[in-house]
Amino acid sequence: MSSQPTYTYTVSSAAYALPLLHAARYLSHTVIGILLGKIDRGSKRVSVEDALPLIHHYTSLSPMMEVALELGAAAASERGMEVVGLYVVPKDDKNSGLGRVGERILGEMKGKFDASFAWLVDNEKLGEGSVPYTIYTISQSSTSPQALPSKSSSSFPSPFTLDSTPNLPARTLQAIRDEKIHRNLVDFDDHLNDS
């Protein structure tokens, strides 16, 4: 039995692509970042508009992640948005779910916004050109994250819908392979080394 949040989410192309660019930038590291968006609590809709790439070093250590989450929330607020979720791209294919760190962060996010979610990138699906995200939420009745069931490889599982940009998965891969746009990406760990 899957956990069904009562919110619906639309995902912009920037929010879709940035986590993958972050991963491409730091190929041999696990990368973690957050997702920003606008929340309409009345109609229970979340518009996931942007992603903030945070860390690629020592992802099992907490202080820089703590700072990153606070700064991320402040930056979101300046732009009229809130932190709505996180993404994790693991460096290997251990298939062990969201992992200790991801689950911990999702739990804390849920404390601030009940319908928070986490995206886990599946490296195999990424290579195939499918939508590579497994989505985790924590339902009311549980404390541990559950994956939303996915029926299609070219779109997000319900209740998430992807922006209408045609061929977004393929175009993102092409931008990485051919145009190398990920090389310009800078994350929070980089900022800590050179503000």
């Binding site: 020592y58 099992s60 907490s62 202080p63 251990k94 200790r100």
Partner: protein, 290 residues
């Protein structure tokens, strides 16, 4: 200071840095230009490894072919053969290849290292092997760094900190490792200890008289560590925190306040991007006046 392509590749070889995508681009450019003489072989080796890392086995294969002609029966080239097997997913054959090299010479360090690398999907096994390896080859900083990372990933932070302690004995100048020790202590909940490490790291990274002082001031990682540790130490829940630091060496409350003002000043002085968000977080962090 911008480095030439050849200098950049040499620098990455020295550091053991893994910028595989860029290495492939730069190395291919450099080799095409030619005129390198015997220096070309280190670059070809570096290119082969980087190419395997990003899945360009065609590029790697061409380099192997040349190296095999030039260096017959070379253990160094044999390691590359093993890496190629790994890249193809033939892990059992790779393991046999490395074990074979160790039968020829027990001190073939890369062979030891690859055998450990092959176990990384089983962290407990990798840790056991790594501990045996470090018993013999103590002064391998990457080995201690990897051990610390494996322990941390398993949530075994005290063991991770011990491993970092060994790393710091070997590389006493490494301020990033000192900061990392602080982060590990912080994750363990030992905020007094974390504060000492972070302050040491900032001390190592700050030399006002040096010409590069301005560049150093834009590095804020250690100062954030100081700030966060201070926040924990000055919070209402502080009394409940355990620390391994003996009481007479713990940082006293008056000094905590002063350090907090300093850390805030340093974080804002770093300037740069996101200053308004930084200000917001720093002012939210100000502990209530006592």
């Amino acid at each position: 200071m911008t480095l030439s392509d050849v200098e950049q590749l040499a620098r990455w070889r020295r550091l053991g840095a893994r910028h595989s995508e860029e290495v492939v681009d730069i190395a291919m450019r450099v080799l095409k230009k030619g005129g390198l003489g015997e220096d070309q072989w280190a670059i070809r080796e570096q290119l082969a490894i980087a190419a395997l890392d990003i899945g360009r086995s065609d590029v790697a294969q061409r380099q192997f072919a040349r190296m095999a002609i030039r260096f017959k029966a070379s253990p160094r080239v044999d390691i590359l053969v093993g890496l190629q097997l790994e890249a193809r997913g033939e892990f059992e054959k790779a393991k046999e290849a490395y074990s074979g090299l160790l039968k020829v010479s027990e001190t073939n360090i890369p062979a030891h290292q690859r055998l450990i690398a092959l176990q990384l999907n089983n962290p407990s096994a990798a840790i056991t092997s790594l501990l045996s390896y470090l018993d013999i080859f103590y002064s391998d900083p990457n080995g201690w760094s990897l051990l610390a990372e494996l322990y941390a990933d398993l949530g075994l932070y005290p063991q991770s900190l011990t491993a970092l302690g060994h790393l710091l004995v070997i590389q006493a100048w490494d301020s990033a490792a000192v900061c990392r020790a602080g982060e590990t202590a912080y994750t363990m909940g030992d905020y007094q200890l974390a504060l000492k490490y972070f302050l040491r790291a900032t001390e190592m990274q700050t030399d006002p008289s040096s010409p590069g002082a301005k560049e150093e001031s834009c590095r804020t990682r250690s100062w954030w560590g100081v700030k966060l540790s201070l926040r924990r130490l000055m919070s209402d829940a502080a009394a409940e925190n355990d620390t391994s630091v003996p009481e007479e060496m713990a940082t006293k409350p008056t000094l905590l306040q002063a350090l907090d003002a300093l850390a805030t000043e340093r974080l804002l002085a770093a300037d740069g991007k996101g200053l308004s968000a930084r200000r917001a977080v720093l002012s939210a962090s100000q502990p209530a006046a006592r």
